[in-house]
């Protein structure tokens, strides 16, 4: 080993604490990149492979009842490659050993026994004999959640007829990678199952012999989905077709797509922050080392080392720091992405997960990591190379301080000399001070942007669950019912209160803008399911108007007082011009609300209901469920108490994980910036501080100067960090907002104080560690050395 290499390794060992502080910041960036990029690739590739292997359809549509012969016509639509029709229905399930009722979605298995599209993947058992009427396949998560074995039996209320069904096999389907039952907010594998039954049996149960009510299409590669959708709508219109939709509106795919997009933007947005901070820290540390080793550089040149040798020597030092960071980042990233991939595979019901170690992610992050360190070091390194040997061996000129306007202002404040030293030093190195402040403020902003979610979710939960939806359970009927059914519900055991509601699928249009949603209609002044405006007041839609959620109104570009066209997709399928009566703030879904009597008058019919909200006597819950299992025409029940709980549990868990991760990340950034800043200050000012000690300043007074500078920058970083954090939070709420959720930007003082507390504490601890070196300062030795 050459002497210069030995010096490199010894320098690196001496600098280990500073190097590690920088390496950890870089490691964060690399790990996040590896994780999100790796996850994004894994999820995307898995989805593509799964869809391809199991021929997931491109276009879907529901209809009331269309003749099977229509399938041939659908096949002739230009661009269509394959068509599969099926019968689909809803059923209340009675699962042995479970007191509560569950909800099932019944789908038909083609008579041939072979699916051409949306092919379920058999996980265990076998496909039922097409001739049988009591054998079914169930989706694997449902079977696992309920502990079902092949051969187990449960009962289903099929169109009013309770029938025992035997499980012959379990499957996974590309259609149901992410499954949410009607009225649910989270997947509930125990309470919601997908059930495949031989077509003849389903058709008989739902009175659909020779007909279908759902169709899936696979398109040719060159086909345009929009034109196929509109041709399909035309064909299905006479048969009660509800507007066809493509994959983007297919529930399961929409959720996965949102997740993939989020991962992709995370891998693009977050890592550069860490790389930037790393470059700054490397710049600071290498710059200082080169300043300290000025005479050594002169000596090396005098001996005959070339400028290239000198450059390489210091670049390698930066490179070693980068290598440590990259290796840690790779390690943490590999571990995180594999455990997250497993979590995803569980959360989304994929039958397999293509987790290929993407070497390019490692190579890319490695190259970026090394380049980051090189960029950080290059200026100082080139300066070192430019030093003439004779100049390098003489001491550098003392740093120049000059009076400026700010200085006069500080003088007017009559600050103590130590305080003046702090401020003058900050002004002497404005770029370094600014970058240090920026680095620390990024740590603050990461915490603000991560923790505001908690308050936002509290608001969502409060509005959605305690202000708007106060019912204990929601009963969904298979058909539109006469309002008198409300009386039947009231007579069920344990029911304290019951209120009716109905959803009307409709397309709202304003000019070229349109949106397919479900209009909710109810009686005035409901107590259980209420529409709440942004001020928390209960709002009743007027008899002759429609209320829209803010987001829906803005998507349609309408305001209160405007008129929109409403194409109803059920019942008489009429189109009406309806005035927008007002808008309401809503966090979950896209809501549109009308008065039940007003709507009935529009349809010239008696009010119809499809939903009943109830409150329950807790002691009678079991009796209530027992009665439901026998009730005809019931398509589903949603227990809001459970929905609330599972929503809250999931959120809490996520919030705790998120907060922990971001606190660690922010602490690493803060320590990286503050520790290195203080170390460099100590190195630059050792003589100065030792002089003060000799003059009779106490350790505390001298520490004040050392720590004061970093802490002043840390304080300055707070408001800046809050501002950046709010902007990031705003971007995140915009980015995460979809037709499924609107995230309100709720910023409470606690969010800011928490972020500041973490960053200031971390900065204080980092500088205190450096302060301990001050105690070990050899006063005599420092004074004897010439700077």
């Amino acid at each position: 080993m050459q002497a210069l290499d030995r010096k490199l390794l010894r320098d690196f060992r001496r600098l280990w604490a500073q190097a590690l502080a920088i390496a950890l910041v870089l490691a964060c960036g690399v790990a996040i990149f590896i994780t999100s990029f790796g996850m994004y690739r894994a999820l995307e590739e898995t989805r593509i492979a799964y869809y391809e292997r199991n021929r997931f359809a491109d276009v879907f549509s529901d209809a009331r009842r269309a003749p099977l012969s229509l399938a041939r016509e659908i096949e002739t639509i230009e661009g269509v490659w394959a068509v599969e029709t099926r019968v689909s229905g809803a059923a209340i399930l009675d699962i042995p050993g479970r007191s509560k009722s569950a909800v099932g979605r019944i789908l038909s298995i083609p008579t041939s026994g072979r699916f051409s599209l949306n092919v379920p993947l058999l996980r265990s058992g076998h496909v039922p004999d097409p001739e049988t009427t009591d054998q079914v396949l169930v989706n694997e998560p449902f079977a696992q959640a309920n502990g079902f074995q092949i051969g187990d039996v449960f009962a289903a209320n099929l169109n009013g007829q309770k029938r025992p069904l035997t499980i012959t096999g379990t499957v996974l389907s590309p259609e149901f990678i992410y499954t949410i039952g009607p009225g649910g907010l989270m997947p509930d594998n125990e309470g919601y199952g997908i059930i495949w039954m031989p077509e003849d049996a389903v058709a008989a149960a739902f009175d659909m012999a020779g007909a279908f009510n759902h169709v899936s299409l696979k398109l040719r590669a060159d086909a345009r989905a929009e034109t196929v959708v509109s041709s399909l709508d035309n064909l299905l219109e006479p048969y009660g077709g509800l507007d066809a939709y493509d994959r983007s509106q297919q529930q399961s795919d929409a959720f996965i797509d949102a997740e993939i997009k989020q991962l992709r933007s995370t891998s693009i947005i977050l890592p550069p922050v860490f790389f930037g901070i790393t470059a700054f820290l490397v710049n600071m540390v290498i710059g200082r080392i080169i300043a300290l080793e000025r005479s050594e550089i002169g000596l090396l040149k005098a001996i005959g080392y070339s400028n290239f040798d000198i450059c390489l020597h210091y670049l390698l030092l930066a490179g070693l720091i980068a290598v440590v960071g990259i290796v840690i980042g790779w390690g943490v990233g590999s571990w995180l992405s594999q455990s997250l991939a497993r979590l995803y595979a569980d959360f989304f019901n994929f039958p397999f997960l293509i987790y290929r170690v993407s070497y390019d992610a490692y190579i890319i992050s490695g190259i970026i990591g090394v380049a980051t360190a090189a960029v950080g070091a290059i200026r100082s390194v080139l300066n070192a190379a430019r030093l003439a040997p004779a100049v390098a061996m003489s001491p550098p000129a003392p740093p120049k301080y000059k009076r400026n306007t700010l200085d006069h202002a500080l003088l007017a404040l009559r600050l103590s000399q130590p305080t003046m030293m702090i401020f003058r030093n900050l002004m002497r190195w404005p770029v370094r001070s600014a970058l240090t402040t920026l680095g620390l403020s990024l740590a603050v902003s990461i915490l603000v942007a991560a923790t505001f979610f908690d308050d936002s979710l509290d608001t969502i939960v409060d509005t959605a669950f305690y202000q708007s939806n106060r019912q204990d359970a929601v009963l969904t009927f298979t058909d539109e019912m006469h309002e008198s059914v409300l009386e039947d519900v009231r007579r069920l055991p344990g029911v304290l209160q019951a209120e009716s509601k109905q959803y009307y699928p409709a397309t709202l249009r304003n000019g070229h803008l349109s949106k397919r949603i479900a209009i909710e209609s109810s009686r005035p002044n409901p107590d259980l399911s209420r529409v709440i405006d942004s001020d928390g007041r209960v709002v009743n839609p007027p008899a002759n108007g429609i209320m829209l959620s803010d987001r829906l109104a803005s998507e349609l570009n309408v305001r209160a007082g405007d008129t929109i066209a409403v194409d109803f997709l059920s019942g008489r399928r009429e189109s009406h011009k309806i005035m927008v009566a007002g808008t309401v703030t809503q966090y979950l879904g896209l809501g549109a609300y009308m008065d039940m009597d007003g709507l009935s008058a529009l349809f010239r019919q008696k009010p119809r209901i499809g939903i009943v909200n109830v409150t329950l006597d807790e002691n009678q819950t079991d009796n209530f469920h027992a009665a439901l299992k026998e009730a005809p025409n019931l398509a589903g029940t949603t227990m809001m108490t459970e929905t609330r709980q599972s929503f809250l549990d999931t959120i809490r868990q996520n919030v705790i994980i998120m907060t922990t991760i971001y606190v660690i990340v922010a602490t690493l950034i803060t320590v990286g910036v503050a520790y290195n800043g203080a170390r460099i200050q100590l190195s630059e000012r050792a003589r100065e501080l030792a002089s003060l000690r000799i003059l009779g300043f106490t350790r505390g007074e001298v520490s004040f100067i050392l720590m004061g500078e970093t802490m002043i920058l840390a304080l300055l970083a707070q408001p800046l960090g809050w501002l950046i954090g709010v902007e990031i939070a705003r971007l995140m709420t915009n980015g995460f907002t979809s037709d499924l959720y609107t995230i309100p930007l709720i910023l409470k003082p606690a969010t800011f104080s928490f972020a500041s507390l973490v960053v200031l504490s971390a900065a204080l601890v980092a500088t205190l560690v450096v302060r301990r070196r001050l105690d070990r300062l050899d006063l005599v030795a420092v004074m004897k050395t010439r700077e």
Binding site: P399, I694, L695, G696, R699
Partner: protein, 235 residues
């Protein structure tokens, strides 16, 4: 007989490097009196700087005792030594050790801010002939000027002792003499006990007493009957 300021008894300082023990001081007995201007002479490594550091409370003895008036310095902890330096001692070093971010006046103020009975920074700077350079930063001054700021800083708190380690070591003879003038001026006006370490034998001519060091011991002490003013010293 003038008051006794410093008294040392058998002061020994051993640097233990693990393999060898180096005796920087090997039993030094010394008395320094109020108002005295003493020059310590000796080769490098003879122990004069070590003694100065011990007298100034910057270093600890290995054996022996040191008194400042009645105060036993060898019994003080780090905090006690800090207060001793703060209240009684002024230091001047070869490399001026000014704070580059503070002007001449502010460098002096550093000391006056924490002293119980300081003179005005302006007065201290006038004493060293720098009344016209008060608002300049160290980078804007010559070496001699910087050293004189260091002296002003050392004397501004009206110390009883002024300890100078090679105060002219980094200066040419002309500026060196200006610095010596300043030191003599302080000694004459305030009666500050002044100890100057130097390699420069010519400087001994201005001292009351000259102490020679060799191998960690005092080898010779003599008193100047006739002191020369700095302006007549040539090197």
């Amino acid at each position: 007989m003038p008051d006794l300021i410093f008294r040392t008894e058998g002061v020994t300082k051993v640097y233990d490097t693990g393999e060898v023990k180096i005796y920087a001081l090997a039993g030094v007995d010394l008395k320094l009196f109020a108002g005295e201007f003493t020059v310590l002479l000796g080769a490098s490594g003879s122990g004069k700087s070590t003694l100065l550091n011990i007298l100034g409370g910057l270093d600890h003895v290995t054996e022996g005792r040191v008194w400042f008036k009645e105060l036993d310095l060898t019994q003080l902890n780090d905090r006690g030594l800090t207060w001793f330096r703060r209240d009684h001692v002024g230091f001047v070093f070869q490399f001026y050790n000014l704070v580059p971010s503070l002007t001449a006046r502010e460098n002096v103020q550093l000391v006056t801010d924490v002293s119980p009975d300081p003179m005005a920074p302006e007065e201290a700077l006038e004493l060293v002939g720098l009344g016209h350079r008060m608002d300049h930063f160290p980078a804007e001054m010559s070496g001699g000027e910087q050293q004189r700021v260091a002296i002003a800083r050392a004397i501004a708190k009206r110390p009883e002792v002024l300890l100078c380690d090679e105060p002219t070591g980094a200066l040419d003879s002309k500026t060196g003499i200006q610095v010596l003038e300043a030191l003599k001026n302080i000694n004459d006006r305030f009666g500050t006990t002044t100890v100057v370490i130097t390699h420069n034998a010519a400087i001994q001519k201005m001292a009351h007493r000259v102490i020679h060091f060799q191998d960690g011991r005092i080898s010779n002490v003599y008193t100047n009957d006739q002191r020369l003013p700095p302006s007549e010293i040539v090197w």
